[in-house]
Symmetry: C2
Subunit: 447 residues, 2 copies
């Protein structure tokens, strides 16, 4: 992508309304724009990151056996009356009357609708287990939206819903998502710690929040330091094996970890002093097992092996991709800007022509672009007629993992400068070497 | 994907409420489910088609130089007061009050919001031309939603918005989208005819609807038969060349074509009798040039080359991906079900084990699945314990372009049956030949 033809509205000033670093950097880097309180437009750079996050989520949901569908944003109030949540949900629900005065709402979550879909079609235990997910915009009318897309009113959510014949089967479905979540966050470069959690308006009696540690997190959390060195589950984990998953979940729940709501001071006191970690965290995922809370009132039943009707066991599993963009910025930035992990970076590499109009730099940039594209890399080519300083600042701010800087001085010796954003390391290489260097690094990060 | 683990709720009965064939087939094939009047959930098979359509749209938008962003669904009423459309839009607009009694709405289109984004950032003519698009759910509160996703209330729309310094530049931007649309529909297997169109609530004085011919179409259309044999623009068309695009647009507007609202009986009378085509059509895209209709009241201006402020020239360009799914079914079906064009088919090929439990058919199916996946094909493996007749009917109904049928009788002679859905042609081939046959056909269709 040529930057002169792209839409990357960098802000020079730090926006005053932004209280946390991710909000500031996302505004400055031209990733998002607020359209109303807690409602954001995703500008091209922000959308690319969001899509990369969605891609990783999808791959791991599919790997764990979940199947993607897509439910609408607008729901009927009657559906929520069936579960008893219509009145209970309170003012966070955005309630709407249509032209025929029918009561509708903008879905804050989809337990009711997916249960309606399930009961409409599924009749037999033979069709279980089933896990359906979608990635769709939700709305929660927060009293005080803030922190940019970290706590917005309109937000993207991946929500999965599992259906099983037995509580034991449902536990396996829960573990599938638990393990998928560990892999999902690890692939984004995040260490997410599963913590015993309150179930709130979703309900149920088994629940984990996945929390990443960050000073600006809204939750106070307490956990064992061992979590920071646990290796995530491998790609070839057998999701069909209850024992294999139970072992992974067992390991990741073997140490103390809780948010403040669930904190047990006595249990935490038993953690060795040097292993105690008391910090702030950002919730990036939340999973629930709630048995028959929705299937019972909504009559989602199947015929069991003995021909008798069985009310199905359910769980639900949420990840917030839009919040994750902000959480990743909180975890990966420095004074100059964002430092994207390779897996979610909007472009793999930026190529900056430091003297636009110079035939030599122009030719080398064009060749580099061609070669990098041939190697399957997504790149941003800064071909704007700007000072080198402005180009360095832009590339640092938007945080692409690699920069290739092409100036007349280096070229006189046949060299371009390759800079790794994360470490600031710089190397003078020939253009061919530069392509090989970056392509190899990106390939390795993808593996 | 193993069908036993998929969610494909086939209906045996034809749903009574469905008046047109696409609605009937999409319900029967388990692609969609109505959740409220005119509001649909996309079940897994339907979502796959919708995503394939979105992919083609994105590729062609990007090729034409448009840049993807993503605006929110909920908009502020104040934004629409600026353009004067808040009161004018009428009851089709879904109006909402949030918890603080602020007036909001579910966006039916995004001219106002994109103009707000543009004016917030763009200051100079040097940043033009600019074309931003997004693919987002919209809501239009139709009095009488019907025909399934053909005329739903919540629907997906790709809408692009162009900004130019001059009317001449805006004409080029309009032509870019005109040509992109011709390519987009052609890639889906559709012949879409651009017709002079009324501009309605969007406004402006230059507009084309892209119409595909179908007996169940809502619009009455009149055109010259030559359109049916025009070749679509090639992939390497130079979108930066005004002359090249003008030539293509000139060709595609050189014959009479109009919807009933714009029909000129005298002009149509001049079309040679044997070339007259009077038919019904489905609108699948609509493009508008409206100059300064929004930029003037909303003060979207840039500094021109002479330093003076210039109000920018705008156009907008819509395609309905959710409606397109239905339109494609209207165009491609037979008595047995849908017949997907290769480019949008939910899976390229279905592999049916005709005797589940038989070691030989099971082994060959497993091998076929592996080989087809290695060849990069997306396949559905019918491993359900069902009668062959039910499997044939399911595969015909869901309309995958290719079927590989694996039964014990054929296998005794080392053969599987390859059926092409579109023609009904059947061939008895070895499993290796079957893979090669299907892979080659899919590869050709993709090219």
């Amino acid at each position: 992508m040529r930057l002169s033809r792209y839409f990357l509205p960098i802000l020079r000033e730090t926006p005053k309304e932004a209280e946390i670093v991710s909000h500031r950097l996302m505004l400055r880097a031209g990733m998002i724009r607020q359209e109303s309180a807690g409602i954001y437009a995703w500008l091209p750079l922000g959308l690319k990151v969001l899509n990369n996050i969605n891609r990783i989520i999808r791959e791991e949901q599919n790997r764990a056996g979940a199947i993607e569908c897509l439910m609408p944003t607008i729901q009927s109030a009657d559906l929520w009356r069936e579960s008893g949540r219509y009145d209970a949900y309170g003012k966070e629900m955005l309630r709407i009357s249509d032209r025929h005065e029918r009561e509708m709402l903008f879905g804050p979550t989809n337990e009711e609708m997916i249960t309606e879909i399930f009961r409409a079609y599924v009749r037999s235990y033979k069709d279980l287990p089933l896990n359906l997910y979608h990635i769709q915009w939700k709305f929660r009318d927060e009293v005080r939206p803030r922190f940019g897309v970290m706590r917005s009113r309109e937000f993207l959510m991946k929500d999965a819903y599992s259906f099983d014949l037995t509580a034991e089967g449902s536990r396996h479905s829960y573990n599938r998502m638990f393990v998928a979540y560990l892999r999902t966050f690890a692939r984004m470069g995040l260490t997410a710690i599963p913590m015993a959690a309150d179930t709130g308006p979703i309900g149920g009696n088994l629940s984990h929040e996945f929390i990443i540690l960050a000073d600006t997190g809204e939750s106070e959390v307490f956990c064992h330091k061992d979590f920071l060195s646990f290796a995530p589950p491998p790609a070839d984990v057998d999701f069909d094996s209850p024992a294999a998953l139970e072992e992974i979940v067992g390991k990741w729940t073997s140490r103390y970890a809780a948010t403040s709501e669930m904190h047990d001071a006595a249990a935490f006191a038993a953690v060795p002093e040097e292993a105690k970690l008391s910090a702030r965290g950002i919730e990036v995922g939340h999973i629930f097992y709630f048995g028959t809370k929705y299937s019972e009132p909504m009559k989602a039943v199947v015929n069991g092996p003995d021909g008798k009707e069985v009310v199905v066991q359910m769980g639900s599993y949420g990840i917030g991709p839009s919040r994750l963009v902000a959480a990743i910025v909180e975890a990966f930035h420095d004074d100059a800007g964002v430092v994207w992990p390779e897996a979610v970076a909007p472009f793999h590499v930026g190529v900056a022509d430091l003297k636009v109009g110079d035939a030599a730099t122009g030719k080398v940039c064009a060749d580099l672009v061609q070669q990098l594209e041939n190697a399957g890399l997504d790149l941003l080519h800064d071909d704007r007629d700007e000072r080198p300083g402005a180009k360095f600042a832009t590339l640092d701010l938007i945080g692409l993992p690699w920069q290739i800087l092409v100036g007349p001085k280096g070229l006189a010796e046949g060299r371009v400068e390759v800079k790794r954003r994360k470490t600031g390391e710089r190397e003078l290489l020939s253009p061919d070497e530069a392509v090989a260097r970056v392509a190899a690094a990106v390939k390795q990060a993808r593996a």
